[in-house]
């Protein structure tokens, strides 16, 4: 399971960074999405995957006596997913708006030539 996840995380990161190097804005966004998912899986993996071991301290002791499924990474991932959902939906709307205003999704043509103050 761990090996599978490690390979998957590597793929997510590699594909995400590759897509971010492209000039197209949509690919840039997809790259960010993949990287975000890669991070979430990484946190999941770093928190030790343990199956069927709830984090409950036995009645007669004060500390954990054996390996347990750590609940913290899951709550971190949950937070990160919610945040990235918000950011990504904003980014999608922004891209759409940029496309409507400029008629292009190529980063090279997006260079304002002169300063305009608002």
């Amino acid at each position: 399971m761990e090996i599978l996840l490690i390979v998957l995380i590597g793929l997510f990161y590699a594909a995400g960074i590759y897509l971010m190097f492209r000039r197209s804005l949509v690919r840039l966004l997809l790259g960010l999405l993949l990287l975000g998912n890669g991070v979430n899986l990484l946190i999941f993996l770093m928190g030790n995957i343990a199956k069927g071991k709830p984090p409950i301290i036995p009645e007669h002791s004060n500390v954990f006596t054996q390996a347990y499924a750590d609940p913290v990474p899951q709550s971190l991932i949950l937070t990160a997913i919610v945040i990235s959902f918000g950011l990504q939906s904003f980014a999608i709307v922004l891209l759409k708006r940029v496309y409507l205003l400029t008629g292009t999704d190529d980063l090279d043509t997006l260079n304002p030539l002169h300063e305009k103050n608002l």
Binding site: L32, V39, T102
Partner: protein, 501 residues
């Protein structure tokens, strides 16, 4: 009740933001509410700073979960100083926005987003939990995205794309670093991490995590190879927004870098030379960029990048004196940089452009305003005894003592180029006879009522007063900076205060 007091700047700005949303399209009510909120926030920030100064590090355990299990809010001298500077910048820029920001922008929620941004910044400065810091960063960046794109003009959108993409990438790096750090230590509390990271034997994983933090914060604070998003986006939003971005958004990255480097990843020789290298390159490339620009705000953006090099230099040398210099520079920089962008906004109001080749004759037209602006510019350059001068003494003497002449050269070059650029601006904007006859129609400043003029110029004068205070009473600021530098080098007080041992 002392517990709630620590997070009062956060709570005040949150409540103000929500109330501004509730008032939705009543522009005057929103403006009044925002002003009241910023004033209250400033009052409590001053209180927090004084209390921290008098009684040492304050902590608050959210939900009464004892550290290191819950989220801790910590107010040490550094955090409370940053919160105070944020509140000062927010108050003055909020006041300036009363006139400078158009009604249509206020209707679309300028003020509520503005207060959410200040809330996020205060939270980032006060938290003692690394994941919580990430969450505050996200609040800051999403508010800044909205402020940057509010108005929806083509230039803004084009600038925003680069800004959004780079900041989202920075968050990914930051989160990856947190993931690795949690994997090797099993903790998120910064004080707890400080102890646990020091005890880890597998230094390579620690260094990988440190470098990922460095990249994440480096993008946000705009250091050498990662800064190019800043000059291509900061000239697009309105001046008031650019002022808050220029003053605070890069500094929150710098703050996070200072905090993590001093507390968690105490720099080894490699890290120190990396920081010094980025400092040198940031100063040189930023300075060269500033020389090459025509628009005033583009020049400021490059100067902003150039001066980030000073902080990195102080952090890279990591001695008491160098850190004191860098921290003093933060105080000076936040005040002066926000003022520069406000000055720029007034010049735009008068002339309808900020391209220095088209401007000219400002001094003849407004001699008194020009005197005020001249003092702002001179503070930035650091003509003694104004505020930019004092921190540079420390940084340069420490660089000399460490025998790193390249760093000394870069520090001198950066301040020399700043002087040159400011002289160029002064010559072109204030002294030169304008190429074309002035169009009185373009002057939207002249037609404003007296009260509105005062609201535009008042914040500039207030910020100038503060930077004059920093310059003329430098020993007070120096004491604060010295104490923070001491706390950074001896972290056991921070750790003890947080873990309550």
């Amino acid at each position: 009740m002392t517990d709630i007091f620590i997070i009062s700047p956060i709570l005040i700005h949150m409540i103000t933001a929500v109330l501004c949303m509730a008032l939705w399209k009543k522009v005057t009510a929103i403006r009044l509410m925002s002003f009241a909120g910023s004033s209250l926030g400033l009052w409590y920030s001053i209180g927090l700073f004084r209390k921290t100064w008098d009684s040492g590090i304050l902590t608050m355990q959210a939900g009464n979960w004892p550290a290191p299990f819950g989220i801790t809010f910590v107010s040490d001298t550094f955090s409370s100083l940053m919160v105070l500077l944020t509140a000062i910048a927010a108050w003055t820029i909020g006041l300036y926005s009363l006139v400078a920001i158009r009604k249509s922008r206020v209707r679309f929620g300028y003020y509520s987003i503005f207060h959410f941004l200040i809330m996020g910044l205060s939270g980032a400065f006060l938290t003692g939990d690394i994941f919580n810091l990430y969450v505050w960063f996200e609040i800051v960046i999403i508010s800044s995205f909205v402020l940057m794109t509010l108005g929806g003009q083509r230039e803004q959108m084009e600038g925003a794309i680069k800004y959004v993409a780079m900041n989202m990438l920075a968050s990914v790096f930051f989160l990856t670093a947190i993931g690795i750090l949690y994997g090797i230590t099993g903790s998120l509390n910064m004080a707890d991490l400080s102890i646990k990271v020091a005890a880890i034997e597998n230094r390579s994983l620690v260094n990988i995590s440190a470098l990922l933090f460095f990249i994440g914060f480096g993008i946000k604070s705009a250091v050498f190879p990662l800064y190019y998003w800043l000059p291509s986006s900061y000239h697009t939003p309105p001046s008031a927004t650019a002022a808050i971005f220029g003053a605070l958004l890069t500094k929150v990255g710098v703050y996070a870098m200072f905090r993590t480097v001093s507390l968690i990843f105490v720099p080894d020789d490699f890290m120190k030379s990396l920081l010094v290298f980025t400092a040198v390159m940031t100063m040189i490339t930023g300075a060269l960029g500033a020389l090459n620009q025509k628009g005033m705000r583009r020049i400021y953006s490059y100067l902003l990048v150039c001066h980030i090099g000073y902080f990195m230099a102080g952090l890279g040398m990591f001695t008491q004196l160098a850190l004191t210099g860098a921290l003093f520079y933060i105080v000076h920089d936040i005040i002066v940089k926000s003022n520069l962008f406000l000055v720029n906004g007034i010049i735009y109001r008068v002339r309808g452009t900020t391209d220095i080749t088209l401007l000219g004759g400002f001094q003849k037209q407004y001699p008194n305003l020009s005197l005020v602006f001249a003092l702002v510019f001179l503070s930035l350059v650091g003509i003694p005894p104004l505020s930019g001068f004092w921190p540079k003494i420390n940084l340069i003497s420490e660089a000399m003592l460490a025998n790193s002449y390249i760093l000394t050269g870069a520090l001198l070059l950066a301040s020399f180029v700043t002087l040159m650029v400011i002289m160029k601006i002064w010559k072109e904007v204030f002294w030169k006879t304008p190429a074309e006859a002035l169009n009185p129609e373009a002057n939207t400043f002249r037609t404003l009522s007296k009260a509105k003029k005062l609201i535009l110029v008042g914040p500039v004068v207030l910020l100038l007063m503060i930077s004059l205070y920093i310059g003329l009473f430098a020993e007070n600021i120096y004491l604060v900076a010295e104490r923070i530098a001491g706390e950074m080098l001896n972290t056991e007080y921070y750790i003890k205060a947080v873990l309550q041992q």
